[in-house]
């Protein structure tokens, strides 16, 4: 009963907020609706018992990706009239995309109705995972045994992407002065000041 009610609550909020992402006039509102959609999708994941995926969804998408989205969108100075002016021009392209997406959805559901797809078989040597194992352990056991090379390849691709992004955007600026933390920390009072026992009536030699 509670599961059913919460499923419908989460599912309807996901769909409604996903629709609001498109219909919201203000791009900042769109991003915020997207965050609501992510968050409720995580709720759905918890309902099917995939709590690890749910937490990852919140940490990665809501906590990091969407914050950066919001960061960028908030700083843009967007002219809404100009945005709407391009509507007629882009309608054919948009319609085409929508038709392709609907066709894929229909195809996917139709194919699924014909029977589940068998992709690969259970790994040799990997024991089937029982329902009592926490799914963080289940994911780890699979990821670091059967799929370890794919997993490491994914890591390598991300590393290359990160290095690439840094190489493309990093510019060594000339003429700016940086801070040398170590020399500042090592600086002692003796380096900059001295005590003088000065007789009165005479100036100080600097």
């Amino acid at each position: 009963m509670i599961q059913l009610v919460s499923f419908y609550v989460f599912a309807s909020i996901v769909i409604a907020s996903a629709a609001m992402v498109i219909f919201a006039r203000n791009p900042v509102h769109s991003v915020l609706w997207l965050i609501v959609a992510f968050f409720n999708a995580a709720g759905l994941m918890v309902l099917i018992g995939a709590e690890f995926i749910a937490m990852l969804l919140v940490i990665v998408y809501v906590g990091a990706v969407a914050v950066l989205f919001l960061f960028v969108v908030m700083m843009l100075d967007i002219d809404f009239a100009e945005l709407r002016a391009g509507f007629i021009k882009n309608v054919p392209l948009g319609l085409l995309l929508a038709i392709v997406l609907v066709a894929e959805l229909v195809l996917g559901i139709g194919a699924y109705q014909a029977g589940a797809v068998k992709l690969g078989t259970a790994a040799v040597g990997v024991a089937s995972i029982s329902a009592t194992v926490p799914n963080i352990e289940a994911v780890g056991a699979l990821l670091y045994s059967k799929y370890v090379f794919l997993f490491e390849t994914a890591g390598l691709i991300l590393l290359v992407a990160m290095v690439g992004a840094i190489v493309l955007t990093h510019r060594r600026s000339h003429g700016t002065r940086g801070q040398s933390i170590s020399s500042q920390v090592q600086r002692r009072p003796q380096d900059a000041t001295r005590n003088v026992n000065q007789p009165s009536g005479q100036g100080v030699e600097l």
Partner: protein, 348 residues
């Protein structure tokens, strides 16, 4: 608690529902009271550090000062700037406040006394604390004012930066405990060091990251010396500039609930949570909740001490500390800890 309501004649689902609601109220209401008192305690501490008296007028020793302040803001007029984004402007403090309460769901107050004992408790805390930034960012943007906006940008960058190293620090602890369950992490600390000390922090390998976690948690809650989001000399009052009355109070309460949460996390991850400091039978006579609160208060004292004595960081120094110091060290420490555990056959 579910079985208690079942004994009253409810069926399981109704009993579970009532028990959960009761549990939430049992955590949230005392937490609000604790926040009010902790604000008073902190003001008294700062006063002591500065050789002042602090609040001493309302009630005995001024202990009702926070409640008087609460009543004051409650009676004030809520001012909403006409150029602001009205809906988001009002939602922002509610987000901050709610998120600050949500993470307490997985905190065990004593052995088995926890609202929701989930397998991924620590990930849940990380997920919820990463939501905290939205309240600040939305407030800064919806105010439609320059200083709050600068503050929101700073907050977003600051919290994301320190979450990265906090993530690595948590991985070290999780490696040692072998579980993401918060209660499991506390139980893993039972007689951990030299066979009798119940704390990860006194493990020589984990002590440096315990210190790093304390500093990172100050940065994560935007407390001094990292309170650049509300640096009054640069940004007026930061993201709260346009806020007044209850909306402002919600920010305030949420901020302190977050600080208490971070103190609790420090106590749980590195100082043994509800366990007594050493594994000695007579100490177990004292209930676990007392030890837990004592540890939270000790952590809070350190937070207040730092705020009263350390000057504010400059923004580029803050970023340098996060990305160039904490991130490499914590990454190295993940290798070190996992290497040590593999070498000594911890996982065998």
């Amino acid at each position: 608690m579910t079985s208690f309501f079942q004994n009253l004649g409810m069926n399981y689902e109704a009993a579970w529902f009532t028990a959960t609601i009761a549990g939430i109220l049992l955590i949230a209401l005392p937490l609000m009271l604790a926040v009010a008192l902790i604000i008073y305690a902190e003001r008294k501490l700062w006063a002591a550090f500065a050789l002042r008296r602090g609040p001493n007028v309302v009630g005995p020793f001024g202990i009702l000062q926070s409640f008087a302040d609460g009543l004051k803001v409650f009676l004030q007029e809520t001012i909403i700037p006409s150029a602001s984004n009205r809906g988001l402007f009002l939602i922002a403090p509610i987000i901050t406040f709610t998120v600050a309460l949500m993470a307490w769901a997985v905190i065990p107050f004593a052995d088995g006394v926890v609202l929701s004992n989930i397998n991924v408790g620590l990930l849940y805390i990380l997920a919820i604390s990463s939501l905290g930034v939205y309240g600040v960012v939305i407030a800064g943007w919806a105010s439609n004012s320059k200083y709050p906006f600068y503050s929101a940008m700073r907050a977003a960058a600051q919290m994301i930066s320190y979450e990265v190293s906090i993530g690595f620090i948590l991985i070290c602890v999780v490696l040692w405990a072998g579980t993401f369950n918060v209660g499991g992490i506390i139980e893993g600390q039972r007689s951990h060091v030299f066979g009798f000390i119940n704390a990860y922090a006194l493990n020589p390998l984990l002590f440096p990251i315990a210190v790093m976690f304390l500093i990172s948690s100050m940065a994560e809650t935007a407390r001094a010396p990292f309170d650049l989001t509300e640096a009054e000399s640069e940004l007026v009052a930061g993201y709260q500039t346009e806020y007044s009355s209850m909306a402002f109070a919600l920010f305030w309460l949420g901020e302190y609930a977050n600080v208490l949460l971070m103190c609790a996390l420090n106590a749980i991850l590195f100082w043994g949570g509800y366990l007594p400091p050493v594994d000695w039978a007579p100490l177990y006579v004292v209930p676990g909740i007392i030890w837990f609160f004592a540890k939270i208060l000790l952590m809070f004292f350190i937070f207040a001490w730092v705020k009263a004595t350390v000057p504010r960081y400059r923004y580029d120094q803050l970023m340098r500390l996060g990305w160039k110091v904490f991130l490499p060290i914590s990454l190295f420490w993940v290798f070190l800890v996992s290497g040590y555990l593999m070498f000594t056959g911890h996982f065998a």
